[in-house]
């Protein structure tokens, strides 16, 4: 069924249709954003979720006589510009991880091992991601204490934790990310 009529039925309270709508919408968004953010494949899925959330919260601003794609693309573009702006601000905090670091290759080979060497894994992260994770997630300090200890700003600590955990989780399965 067409995306628009699913959406309209959802707006009238049909949760099943609304769910189908969101499902198809996320595929559409993934393609739309993927084409425009091909340099940052990691950001696309985050942004898809961000857009879904925004469209859900703003669904009352859709006019039923308006083309749905115009509405969807305007929101997606707005959120994408938001992301690019935020990215340019925090780019200096961000060290991309190299996929073919030797440590990852070794760890992947030992993936069947239930126990992994936490310390060794953390060593692969740049300091601005490793220190926040060690202090906050392992030693149990607060974000503010960690910021004091390391001399980083609080938002840098949060970004470091977020990015560090994501980088680790991406390579060792979601179980890891959720457990942390």
């Amino acid at each position: 069924m067409a995306l628009r009529s699913l959406f309209l039925r959802g707006l009238d309270g049909d949760a099943k249709a609304y769910r189908d709508f969101l499902q198809q919408l996320s595929a559409h968004l993934r393609a739309f954003l993927g084409k425009r953010l091909f340099g940052w494949p990691d950001e696309v899925e985050d942004l898809v979720q961000e857009c879904l959330l925004a469209m859900h919260n703003q669904r009352h601003t859709y006019q039923s006589d308006q083309p749905l794609t115009a509405w969807v693309h305007a929101i997606a573009r707005y959120k994408m510009i938001d992301l690019l702006r935020a990215k340019s601000v925090r780019d200096d905090l961000h060290d991309p991880l190299d996929d073919d670091l030797a440590v990852f290759a070794e760890s992947a080979e030992e993936a069947s091992d239930a126990r992994r060497d936490l310390g060794g894994l953390l060593e692969t992260l740049p300091e601005r991601q490793r220190l926040p994770i060690v202090h906050v997630k392992i030693e149990g300090l607060s974000v503010a204490e960690t910021a004091n200890l390391t001399g980083m700003s609080e938002s840098a600590v949060k970004v470091g934790i977020h990015r560090g955990l994501k980088a680790l989780a991406a390579r060792f399965g979601n179980r890891w990310g959720e457990a942390a």
Partner: protein, 213 residues
């Protein structure tokens, strides 16, 4: 969180929204703001005493209606800007034409009147307080419209703020016109237009800061 989980979460529970919910927000903003503006007029300024007599003068209606046209155009523009993917189209003309019209009237009056009468007709008795008073009377509608916009999705926040300013400034000016004694086109062209321009500019500056979503 996985995207599928997010979808499941969002589609869970009551997903219905009332049709036209967004338009209703803006209507409520206007219904809440205009009475407060009128209240300021009656409490602080008072209606002009000869209001009944003034209603027979065309210039009085020019003074009341040209800001109302700007307000109407602002209202339409706010509506469109509050929704992602809706073009503003001709609404800007609705705000610009009344201003051009009053400027044309002022120019005609200026060049047809005696040189000695020009400055008095431009400054009137009340030029000092005119723009500030219009700004004050615009404030309730301005604040209410921004609150309404905050719950919507303006993808061009500076324009949306400016349109909210045009709506509020237009309402403020035509409310103030019920008090103001000035009736010359040059006065309206300068002081009324300035009074309306202030909320427009403030809106354009505040929009990107206040209307993020």
């Amino acid at each position: 969180m996985k995207t599928d989980d997010l979808v499941a979460m969002l589609a869970n529970g009551d997903v219905a929204v009332p049709r036209r919910a967004a338009s209703r927000r803006l209507r409520w903003a206007l219904l809440a703001g205009v009475p407060v503006s009128l209240l300021i007029l009656f409490a602080e300024y008072g209606m002009r005493r000869d209001i009944v007599q003034a209603m027979f003068w065309p210039m009085f209606w020019v003074k009341v209606l040209f800001p109302l046209c700007i307000a109407a155009a602002g209202y339409v523009a706010v509506h469109r800007l509050a929704r992602p993917g809706v073009a503003v189209r001709q609404a800007w003309l609705g705000a610009a034409l009344p201003v051009l019209g009053i400027w044309a009237l002022a120019a005609i009056a200026w060049f047809t009147m005696q040189a000695d009468d020009r400055m008095p007709s431009l400054m009137g008795q009340s030029w000092r307080i005119c723009a500030a008073s219009i700004g004050l009377m615009a404030l309730p509608v301005f604040a209410a419209t921004l609150v309404a916009l905050k719950g919507m999705a303006p993808t061009r926040p500076a324009l949306a703020g400016a349109a909210a300013g045009a709506l509020a400034g237009g309402v403020g000016a035509s409310v103030y016109a019920l008090h103001c004694m000035e009736l010359t086109a040059p006065f309206l062209a300068v002081w009324y237009v300035s009074g309306i321009a202030v909320p427009v500019l403030v809106g354009a500056v505040l929009g990107p800061r206040l209307l993020r979503w």
